[in-house]
Symmetry: C2
Subunit: 408 residues, 2 copies
Amino acid sequence: MPLIVQKYGGTSVGSIDRIKNVAERVVRTAGQGNKVVVVVSAMSGETDKLISLASQLSAAPSEREMDMLLSSGERVTSALTAMAIEALGQKARSFTGRQAGIITDRDHTKAKIERITGNRIRQALDEGYVVVLAGFQGITETEDVTTLGRGGSDLSAVAIASAVNADLCEIYTDVDGVYTTDPNIVPEARKLEKISYEEMLELASLGAKVLQTRSVEFAMKYRVPVVVRSSFNDNPGTLVVEEDKEMENVVVSGIAYDKNQAKMTVVNVPDKPGIAATLFKAIADANIVVDMIVQNISSDGKFADISFTVPKTDTRKALEVTEAIAKELGAERVDKRDDISKISVIGVGMRTHSGVASKMFQTLAANNINIAMISTSEIKVSCVIDQKYTELAARVLHEVFGLAEATH
Amino acid sequence: MPLIVQKYGGTSVGSIDRIKNVAERVVRTAGQGNKVVVVVSAMSGETDKLISLASQLSAAPSEREMDMLLSSGERVTSALTAMAIEALGQKARSFTGRQAGIITDRDHTKAKIERITGNRIRQALDEGYVVVLAGFQGITETEDVTTLGRGGSDLSAVAIASAVNADLCEIYTDVDGVYTTDPNIVPEARKLEKISYEEMLELASLGAKVLQTRSVEFAMKYRVPVVVRSSFNDNPGTLVVEEDKEMENVVVSGIAYDKNQAKMTVVNVPDKPGIAATLFKAIADANIVVDMIVQNISSDGKFADISFTVPKTDTRKALEVTEAIAKELGAERVDKRDDISKISVIGVGMRTHSGVASKMFQTLAANNINIAMISTSEIKVSCVIDQKYTELAARVLHEVFGLAEATH
């Protein structure tokens, strides 16, 4: 009997009526001869409400206590969803992260799953129950409650799908699937029928917030087939799977952008071995995640410019750290820009097709869009540009790579 | 180092400000050189909100799912309270029923505690933490979440106090302690300094709703000293302890009443061995709890009248069952009255002092209050009277037994 995992996000379970809709979809799926595991998030707004209560009590609440607090939202939804399913005549049973045996490390508020026992879930499925799992949560070996970070219910779904060997993991959200780019800025954007894990990873981490990055990594590692689709209609969604021959024929799958980065440049630092190491160790120690890094050497080989991007929210902290190190290294000055954005072209076909990067640069140039930084990987090319050109860049690149026409 | 358990009910943790007040009291208690275990209920209103959500989804939600749902309220309060305590500079850690090792039977929504391991709590106390325990909940041997029924957090507090060998279990509520009778109807009612477990049990089960009955039974069985006091002031409250010599000198400790009963009478049933057994087995099978039972035999010994009281909410069901059995037994008819109340005089001193019952009957008679049923135990005398005389009866009995004057 096929086994399907269905994950419903906060908006999909945001009210009693929506929970009833979810129950109907689950019962329909079970009625079609599938075993079903449902993974639910907290009702939309609940997590924020709890965070607000905590912030009224403490400026820096203990992360262990935050996990105890926040994990309650998913428990509530899991019990309510199980009741709604049973009200339709289908046996259902809710399980917490602990009851499902989702064992994590001790890194509270952003714990990593170490293993999943899943015995009770398998047993309940064998006994004919629909299993309703409280998402977003796990438990340490010493039985402390943990949560998996923002979007963690996606990870719960993919991880449990892997543990119970599910045939498919459906992620229900409020969009129809994964698009070639943001339909809000490019009306021609087209929903992809399928996409490879690696492309999805680049799209997700680059700002197309459909599926949590770690859940895609997990799905890729354990080859869990994932579908992203809407809980508000019956459209088929986008399949996220292993790369296949067909995909290789498509050079570019999507265009992503990210407006939430800032760029730092350390200007004219005397070039010595270890300057990059010194700088980026200090930034890492300050818990700042660096994305792109570019280093240029002056024509006489004596000085270097080092540019890098950081999350915009970390701009002030990054500037402080960078200025201190720049002084130490004898650099001329540090420049900062937060009116930038990163635009990326993604596609597994790039591995076998050349010319994507140059086509991208030419297109941007032809539209008078200056490129401040470039970074490339096997399946993507990213450029930092002036933020005001973001929408224009997305539109022209979407067009030049022919993304509006259906290919797969 | 003395160990104190403090339990705070829903109104005491009903808002962020009240949780802060609780935290201050806890930190003060810890600062006085005590180890402290705090037991908290759900914030007032939360449990009802969750019940309402469930009722919108299912007419008869599974009790297992109800427990999963309802137990979340106490988890939230336990985490918030731990944060509030830590914000005042005192180490604190929250624990669920499971983490505290509160093992119950499988009787969902009204589970009974079977044992408490309490290892993590003892360890946390030894490490200098204030322990904040989510009340009202436990876990079965097979790790399903259970709840302990209405008022279950009182039971959590007394049980954990017993498990960790606490020196005192303080129950914080919105009243100052246990009164000689309801101060709302007898302004002269006096707060008792101390009271025996048995008296408290009679008072609580008879309608003086200060402390959950099962928690008093548990405290009596394991000799846990309990104090009932207000979380809104520093008044000393009422100590609930083992009977002592001083108490025996006080003949009557309090007057309780209960307006929530109905009286059934099976009239003229042919007297045969086993009629009472047949009747009360049928009533028990219908899950109706019978309180008082009186049986009279007619002067010729051929017929009997059997009267008994049941909770008013069960009147209709009780009447149906009783009428069916009455017919079977050949009784003349069944009378029903729900305009009654039960008034009781309680005191451990009755064991050594005679005349309490006759003084009660005389006092009621002198005030033209008719007695419909009488039932007595070692430490109480209860009479069923017309409900309209409840307040009058409480006042005159309170006066005649001299309860307004301080004695202990």
